[in-house]
Symmetry: C2
Subunit: 347 residues, 2 copies
DNA sequence: TTTAATAATACAAACGTTTACATTATAATT
DNA sequence: AATTATAATGTAAACGTTTGTATTATTAAA
């Protein structure tokens, strides 16, 4: 009855046709040395003829491997995360893995739900980036307890024992960028960034502070904005509002993402300032469209794609070596280099 | 031995602990009316205590459902596709499905490979957008033959029997946009678009032509560019090169994507023209960053997210109703409305 | 030829569920 | 108290593979 509806060809059908056992057919398909070449040829030919497609689910149940990597990102609509996914995918596909992306929609609850879903055995390993809300880690610790290979990336506020970590040095990168602004003899520098709950933003702000300290300069609290909004439009109004209310305008801005830099430039332009002539702006990220923006954005370039590749590499190592080996592995943290890209929003 | 390494809790373990049969435990987990409430409570409690996680693979093998939708997009690094994915994901998650995204990297061979992978039973249905290279359709017809629910979106050059189709009216949308430019009394209008191999671009160009015809106007062949490059930088040089070599500059440009519009504006700006004062530009898509661009982009707004939702809706209908019902279904094509968004690159 | 070695194939259990059917326990009816 | 209806649980097959072990066929050595 089921065969009537779902007429998939199975190993059994091939076996029956060729009067072989299922085992032999299975071994023939995987090119085992235990089956005669002639038989292999016959099996392959008839499989092709009958339109056989291996059932991946059955394979997975039997082998305990799905060849799928779970990827949890905070949101789809931030190009940085997509670039990382693209890097993960690129490396994964080379090694016969596919990726299952789950967005946690900036919510800790969704994140937990995503982790839970991956505990049901649909993936061989998990790569994830925490939301800004995440400050409790039982969910990932449980993942580790269950021997699920795990690699964290980008927004890492807390090192998880047994997990891999891939990130950049947000602190130093920010220092470098702000130092550039200081060297350009800017009297006062402002900061525009995302919610301080997110560790990458925090670290970038810390870098901003540190650069000032290092050069015995000070900055004004009223020149610092930690955006709370999430949608592009809301963010724009928050930035615009902040800038338009400023009594005295700083001579430069360091922004914790390219997007904030763009919102900043857009607002400044609306307010009648010229970038970079009146005010310099440096962003962080180096997204695709940053170089297409007018003026082209000077920023800290973050190796998003490479980050993804590295994440996948670590994850596949963990999967291949088994949990215990990688657990002892010293190399559970990778810090990727950033570099400054000078374009048209600085002088 | 396996239990030593992988100590996952199974229904059997719960059954043994409670001296019940696996069947009863299974039924208790799915809240079947055939098991006593008291027993259900006990099962749920002990499952929680033992940290039970259902094995999705085993479930899938038994039930024939994976609750995963396969999504094939030509590339990751085009925000339009990601928006569609986000829409698919949004609808899918509401209905207890997840999505497995595969990029075909603008290559027909990869596309076929992706389709093949989905024939191995890892997904309950497939949503896909053809690459610009795709002009043979055996691979998707085979998918249909194998009774795999299929919904195509965006770049549809060929209707596939039994598949769902979700698209916009590229032709009319383009006509409307170009008519606007004509009404603004622009003497001559240029066109910048992507490869003519991609049907959406072709249709948008056809709209460009049609608008001229309708208003008894003509356009110059040398004012038309079908970009062949793929990477952002290459595309920029191709556009810039094209524009800088133009003997006489048109008064306006209709571009087949927002990205081309941005490249166009950027090039024009470099060449000393003011947009929109000297030259008007209209894009197509309405991506997130289009409204952040300086000047803000006037464009045809394409409902990307909604398109994704619609794709998922059709796909889940096909999955739920079974192949045969939806095959006869009259409503196998949906054309979503676009609208013009007027901003700062037109007068 | 018979025996031993090895090549080729077959059998059957396992992976962790679901579910049709069978059985046993309980409650309702007489 | 016996009978019947029904509630609760159990047994076993099925989903489509893989793989350890057993069996049979073939070849090489005696």
């Amino acid at each position: 009855m089921k065969a009537e509806i779902n007429n998939r060809v199975r190993l059994e059908d091939i076996a029956r046709t060729l009067k072989l056992s299922i085992a032999t057919v299975s071994r023939a398909m995987s090119d085992s040395s235990r089956v005669k070449q002639e038989t292999k040829n016959k099996v392959l030919a008839i499989a092709e003829e009958m339109g056989y497609r291996p059932n991946q689910i059955a394979k997975s149940l039997s082998s305990g491997k799905t060849n799928i990597l779970g990827v949890i990102i905070p949101r789809y609509d931030e190009p940085f995360f997509i670039e990382v996914c693209r890097g993960i995918d690129y490396y994964a596909r080379k090694h016969n893995y596919r990726i299952l992306i789950s967005s946690s929609r900036n919510s800790f609850n969704y994140e937990k739900e995503n982790v839970l879903a991956f505990e049901r055995g649909t993936v061989d390993g998990v790569a994830m980036c925490f939301t800004h809300e995440t400050n409790s880690f039982e969910h990932v610790e449980e993942l580790i307890d269950r021997k699920m290979p795990l690699v964290l990336f980008d927004n890492i506020n807390h090192k998880i024992d047994g997990a891999g970590h891939v990130k950049i040095d947000d602190f130093s990168s920010a220092i470098k960028a702000v130092e550039d602004l200081i060297k350009h003899k800017n009297e006062s520098i402002g900061y525009i960034g995302g919610t301080s709950k997110k560790s990458v933003f925090n670290k970038r702000f810390d870098g901003f502070v540190e650069a000032h300290k290092k050069h015995q300069k000070s900055f004004k609290k009223q020149h610092v904005l930690n955006c709370k909004s999430y949608h592009q439009e809301h963010e724009f109004y928050e930035v615009f509002n902040f800038l338009s209310k400023l009594r005295e305008m700083p001579n430069a801005f360091f922004c914790s993402t390219d997007n904030y830099a763009i919102l900043c430039i857009k607002s400044l332009t609306k307010l009648g300032y010229k970038v970079p002539k009146d005010i310099e702006v440096i962003g962080f990220g180096n997204l695709h469209y940053s170089s297409m923006f007018i003026p082209e954005l000077t920023c800290v370039s973050q190796p998003s794609f490479k980050m993804g590749e590295k994440v996948a590499e670590m994850l596949l190592n963990k999967i291949d070596n088994g949990f215990f080996v990688s657990d002892v592995d010293q190399d559970n943290e990778v810090v990727l280099p950033t570099k400054m890209v000078y374009r048209d929003t600085t002088r």
